[in-house]
Every structure is written in C-alpha cells, then in structure tokens.
C-alpha cells in the first residue's frame, strides 16, 4: 500500500520552504536560503522517486493493471452530511509520473538558480516563490478531487504571476505578469463553471467517483444530466468544454496563448520550470485526468481538443521561425509541443485499442519536460554570458560555452525528433496515434515537426555558429557547477528518456499497452526533421543574407508570422475598441450616474430630512416637556377613543 506520509510530505516540504524563506528569509537566511530551498526540494525529489519506484514496481500493479489509490482523505469543509469538500491525494500512473517530472525539473531549476540568481537582491524571496510554485504544482498533480485541483490551479497561477513579475521594477515584466494573470484568470472562469457543471451533474467532487458516474451510460447521474441543455448542446458537453477552456488557458493553447511569450520576462530558470516543463502542461494533465469523461461521454469535445491542439502546434511553430528573442522562440516552441500533447489526447480514445494517443501524449509531456527545461536553462546560460535575449547579439558561442553547446545540441536534436533522442520516441508515438485516428491532424503534425526542427536549429546555429563572437568588456566563464550540473543531468534525461517503455506504465485504464513502433513509419518525420536541420544549416550556419532574402521573398506571410499573426493586436482591438466602447464605457456611465446617483440620492435625502427636523432638539427643557405632554395626551386620546 502507498505510504501516505511520504506522499503527503512531497508537496509539504516545498511549502515549508516557502513559509520559512518567505517569513524569515530576507532577515536571517540571506545567504543560506538557496541551499535550504534546494535541500528541501532534494528531499521531496527523493520521496517522489521512492514513491514512483514503489508504485510502479511494488504495489501499484494488481493483476497486470495499475490501480488508483487514495492514500489520504481529509474532510475539509463539511456543508451537510454527505456534502463536503475534501482534501485528498490520488496516486495513479499519471500523478506519479507527474510527481517525478515536477520534482526533478524543479530540483534542477533550484540548483541552477543557485548560480544564475546569485547576488540578486531578493534571492530568498525568489526561492520562497519557487517553493510556493513547487508546492502548488505538486498539490495540483496529487489532487484527488476537482475542487482541490482548482484551488491548486489558482495557486499555481498566483506563483506564476509572482515569478513572472519578479523583476517588478521593469515595466515590461509588470505588464507581462498582469497579462498572464488576467488571461489565465479569464480561462479559469470557464474552468470554474465547468467544475460546477460536472460536479453538479455527477453529484460529487471526487475524481474516481465523478469519472465512474459520468462514464457509465446507465447511471442515474448521466440520465438526468443529458436532459439539460443550453443552445442545443448538452450540459455535460458544456461542462467538459469549459473545463478544457481552463486547461487551454493554462496550457497556452490558441487563442489563449498570448500570455506565454510575454511571460518570458521572468527569470530564465522560472521560464524553464513554469513556462516550459510543469505549469503549462497542467492543462494536458487536467484533460488526461478527466480523460474517460472526455472520451466516453463527450467525444465531440475531445475532437475539439484535438483540433485546438493541432492548430496551436502549427501556428506556434510558424511564429517560432520568425522570432528573434531566444526565449520567445522557446516559448512558441513550448506552445507548439503542448499542442502536440493536446491533439494526441484529442485523437485518442478510451478502450478499443485507441489509447495509444493518451500514452503518447503523456510520454511527450515527460520527454518534453526534460529537453525543454534543458533548452531554457541552456538559453539562460547563454543570456547569462551575453547579457541579452536577442539572437543578433549572439553567435559563435560554441568556443566559450562548450558544455552549454553540447547539451543545447542534444536538446535540439531531441525536440527535432532525431533518433535516438527522447523526443524522437514520443513524437513518433504521437504521430502514429494521429495517423491511425485522424489523417488531417497527422499531416498538420508532420509539417509542424519539420518546422520544429527548422526553428530549433535556426536558434542553435545562430547562437553557437554564425558570426564569430565579439567580446565586449570583461567576460566570465560558463557559470559554476551549479549551472552546469542541471544541464548535464537534463541532457542525460533528454538523451535517454525515450527508452523508457512508457506504454507499460501509463495508459488510460492502467492496463499496459503495446507500444507500436514501425521503422518504416518513422522515415517521413525523421526525413522532414533532417530536412529542417539542413535548411537551418544552409541559412544560418554562416553569416549571410540568405535568411533575410528568404524572409523578403515570403513577404506578407513572414511579416504576419513575425507579428505573431496579429493575435495580440486582435485582442487589443477587441478589448480596447469593442469591449471598452460598447460595454466598458456604458457600464461606467451607468455606474457613475445611476448607481452612484442612487447612493447619493439616499445620502442627500437623509441629510435634507435631518436638516429639517434637527430644530426639534432645541435644548429647551420646557419645549421637550411640551412634546412629551402632547405625546401623552395623544396616547391617552388613542387609548380612550381608539381602543377597541
């Protein structure tokens, strides 16, 4: 049986770190805060690995099927008998897998930040925020009911907000953190409504019960739930759709992705942790968590998820080809890869041999966490070295940053899907699942994988080759062991994670699935990947004007992609021009004149009346006596003549 203390400690240790460093860090632990936070997270990681080992190899599998455990359940808010909000932990293949991913990447980022953030004024605050984030993310992953996941969902949003806005004296960072918060809040509104619809329909908040009730066609809950509908769409579909909107906001799916590129204003390790490896895959995790509901009860919504994922994947890949800020390229690449995970879930089905997409999606989540965190940390090392995010300031860095160069190359090969690196296996699995279930999405995915290879190697060649590097002023080395160790460890992960037989461990119903793997099938995506790399090599390895010429020949398309397809402008137009003028201003007028008017009316009336009657309080005793006497006489008359 699972060891509930160990599992509960995994999220609680980072929380302890957050409280300790948040309360006492700036005063007493100025220099040791990084070590403390890292040590606590190391303990957490060890516990997570221990839990994963125990779950996957000792007690988790019963009769060849991985079971779901609820090792801890506490009644938190009891409204009445049977209606309560609980705090519970859930242990099943995806939560255990996510535990490992989150703690491992977070640990890497903690270690990396020891070097990267050294000398920062608010170093303890940074580590306490990292602790808060890790706690929230682990809590989200372990949540056993849908309301608890919402609580942690918001906590994750808050810590993301805090960390994006870490450099709060930079106006762009402040704007970015506000943007991230507002956009995800907007999506979370949908999530909340979706939660209410689903839990109301199922009559429970617990995931296992909720899924069981909403997926068995004969259950009472389903029978009543299908009778409700709105705009011709059943309530359950609305619920599932709204929950997905929440997930899409957090996972930066088109068209709610606009916050993610701006979120790169935060410190680079934070981008690696939150905006690449963990928080942004929360949406994928959510869909995976509720996957039976999506697949069995609302297949139409799952179809939408698939298309949203595919569209996000290709749009982001096209935009990534044109950006010049390396972190933004990586941000769009993240969005594109999460699109992959989403459509892999979308093309999957529950039971009947179609589960490979589900497994592939989570497999990709796992490998992506490795190589994308590595890419961000590598980018961090580069930024640390050149003090700029712009690609034009870089070039020829392979001589100065040898370790970063090698690890970055491994990550690029992994994301481009070149065998035998991790990304190859997971991407093949996804493409295979798409090929089996939805040809249109498969073609989109194939093109995207070529684009991925191209933009990643564009980045790689521009940073490490291209023009020779000009050294301005004094130069330091690559950064200490603290920055290099995570790079190396993650590079090992990015190179080797693909060999994990993922289908053995993770599938929608816990039964291991055969990983189908055809050598012949891999030819097309690998060829496209290699083609992308060669194109990038030809364009960017040597300094030349080929790329500018190509951009000019693409004209409109290039310009549109460079401006991110004007999606930000569309948002601005909708909010500033349409919403502000049509809704905001009339509402403000109504508020200022009607609502305030009513309040002022009440105030003014009271004042006028009191002005009139205050003369009664004259201070003359005998006048009071007259009023009193008049009252007594009136009462007497009433009692004598009016009493019936």
């Amino acid at each position: 049986m699972p060891n509930s203390t160990a599992i509960a400690l995994i999220p609680l240790l980072p929380l302890a770190g957050f409280l300790l460093l948040g309360l006492a860090g700036r005063k007493y632990l100025k220099n040791s805060s990084g070590i403390i936070g890292t040590a606590l997270l190391l303990a957490s990681t060890v516990l997570a690995l221990y839990t994963a080992y125990e779950y996957f190899f000792v007690y988790g599998r019963v009769n060849g099927v991985y079971q779901q455990f609820v090792p801890l359940e506490i009644t938190w808010l009891e409204f009445s008998k049977g209606v309560s909000i609980n705090i519970s932990l859930i242990i099943d293949p995806i939560s255990v897998m996510m535990l490992v991913v989150v703690t491992f990447v977070s640990l890497m980022v903690h270690v990396y930040s020891l070097g990267y953030m050294k000398g920062e004024e608010r170093f303890p605050t940074y580590y306490s925020f990292l602790g808060l984030f890790t706690f929230s993310m682990l809590g989200l992953v372990l949540s056993g009911n849908i309301f608890q996941i919402y609580i942690f969902w918001e906590l994750v949003g808050v810590s993301s907000f805090l960390l994006i806005g870490y450099y709060y004296d930079k106006p762009s960072a402040v704007a970015a953190c506000k943007k991230a918060f507002i956009v995800t809040r907007f999506a979370d509104l949908g999530f909340l409504i979706g939660i209410l619809i689903l839990s109301y329909s199922a009559g429970t908040l617990d995931f296992p019960t909720l899924i069981q009730r909403l997926t068995s066609p004969g259950s009472d809950e389903i029978k009543t739930a299908v009778t409700y509908s709105f705009l011709g769409i059943s309530a359950l579909s609305w619920g599932a759709m709204l929950v997905f909107i929440g997930g899409a906001g957090k996972s930066a799916m088109f068209p709610l992705h606009i916050w993610l590129p701006d979120a790169m204003e935060g410190p680079t390790p934070v981008s690696a942790l939150i905006h690449a490896a963990t928080m942004v895959v929360a949406g994928v995790y959510l869909v995976a968590r509720l996957f039976p509901v999506f697949a069995l009860t609302t297949p139409a919504v799952l179809e939408i998820i698939g298309w949203v994922g595919a569209v996000s994947a290709i749009i982001a890949a096209v935009i990534a080809c044109t950006q010049t800020d390396i972190k933004r390229v990586l941000a769009y690449s993240t969005m594109s890869q999460i699109g992959y995970m989403m459509f892999a879930l979308g093309v999957s089905s529950y039971g009947g041999g179609g589960e490979s997409g589900y497994t592939a999606s989570l497999f990709h989540l796992f490998t992506h966490a490795m190589f994308k965190a590595l890419l961000f940390l590598g980018a961090g090392a580069v930024i640390h070295f050149v003090h700029s995010n712009e690609m034009k300031d870089m070039g020829g860095l392979r001589k100065y940053l040898p370790i970063t160069h090698i690890t970055f190359l491994i990550a690029c090969l992994a994301i481009a899907g070149i065998p035998p690196f991790a990304g190859f296996f997971s991407k093949e699995a996804i493409l295979l699942a798409a090929h089996e279930n939805n040809k249109a999405i498969y073609w989109i995915a194939l093109i995207t994988s070529g684009l991925t290879a191209f933009y990643m190697f564009r980045l790689y060649f521009t940073i490490f080759w291209n023009k020779p590097h000009v050294i301005h002023g004094e130069k330091h080395g690559e950064g200490g062991w603290a920055m290099m160790l995570p790079l190396v460890l993650l590079a090992v992960g990015a190179a080797a994670a693909g060999f994990i037989p993922f289908g053995e461990f993770v599938s929608p119903d816990g039964k291991p699935i055969e990983s189908k793997f055809h050598l012949g099938f891999s030819v097309a995506p690998v060829a496209l990947g290699v083609g992308g790399i060669i194109a990038a090599l030809w364009l960017y390895k040597k300094q030349s004007d080929k790329s500018t010429k190509l951009a000019a020949s693409l004209g409109r398309l290039y310009k549109a992609a460079y401006h991110k397809f004007y999606i930000d402008e569309i948002y601005l137009f909708i909010t500033r021009k349409v919403l502000f003028n049509l809704v905001g201003r009339p509402a403000a007028w109504f508020d200022r004149h009607v609502v305030d008017g009513l309040v002022n009316l009440a105030g003014n009336t009271t004042q006028a009346v009191s002005e009139g009657i205050k003369k009664v309080q004259s201070g003359k005793v005998q006048q009071y006596a007259i009023y009193f006497l008049a009252g007594v006489i009136l009462l007497a008359v009433l009692v004598i003549y009016g009493w019936k």
Partner: protein
C-alpha cells in the same frame, strides 16, 4: 358636613396635576419647576390613595405605592437640587432659558 366622595378627590388630583404641568411649562426658575414636579407627583399620590380607599378598601397596595413615590420624590429632589447647584455654579443663574447648550 358632607363626606368627600371619590369624585371630589379625583377633581382635586386632576387640578393639582394640571397646576403642576402649567407651572412646569411656564416657570423659568428651576426651583419652581422642581416644585411643580412635586405637585404632579402628589396628584398621583392622591389618586392612588383615593382609588385604594374607595375601590379596594381592604387592601394596602395604593398606600405602599404612595410611600414609594414619596421616597423616590425625595431622592429625585436631592438629585435635582444637586444639578441645580452645579448649574448655578457654571451659569450663575438657575433660569432654565440659560441652560440650553445641550442641543443639535
């Protein structure tokens, strides 16, 4: 000589009451107003005694009420005189018209 009946007593009591009220409302001197209040209280006492004597001759309730009212009237007079003395100290007058600061 005629034995006075209930109505006589009630008439006297009512007269005393209204004299007291009149005095309270018209006099400006606080001592006189206090005396007027005593008149009102005494009219009440007279009522109690009269009703006790004529309606429940065997009982003592009215008498006890009267005793209590007399005691309270004494206490009230003591308090009122203390107030009046303090007022005189601060205003150099016991005219009620001068003591009207306590207003809106």
């Amino acid at each position: 000589m005629m034995e006075p009946g209930l109505y006589h007593l009630l008439f006297i009591s009512a007269a005393l009451f209204f004299i007291g009220v009149y005095g309270f409302l018209t006099r400006r001197n606080l001592i006189t107003m206090l005396m007027s209040i005593e008149l009102i209280l005494n009219s009440v006492n007279l009522n109690f005694i009269a009703f006790n004597k004529y309606l429940w001759p065997g009982k003592m309730d009215g008498l006890f009420f009267t005793l209590f009212i007399i005691a309270i009237a004494a206490a009230e007079a003591a308090v009122a005189i203390a107030i009046i003395i303090n007022l005189y100290r601060s205003h150099q007058s016991i005219d009620v018209e001068n003591a009207e600061e306590l207003k809106y």
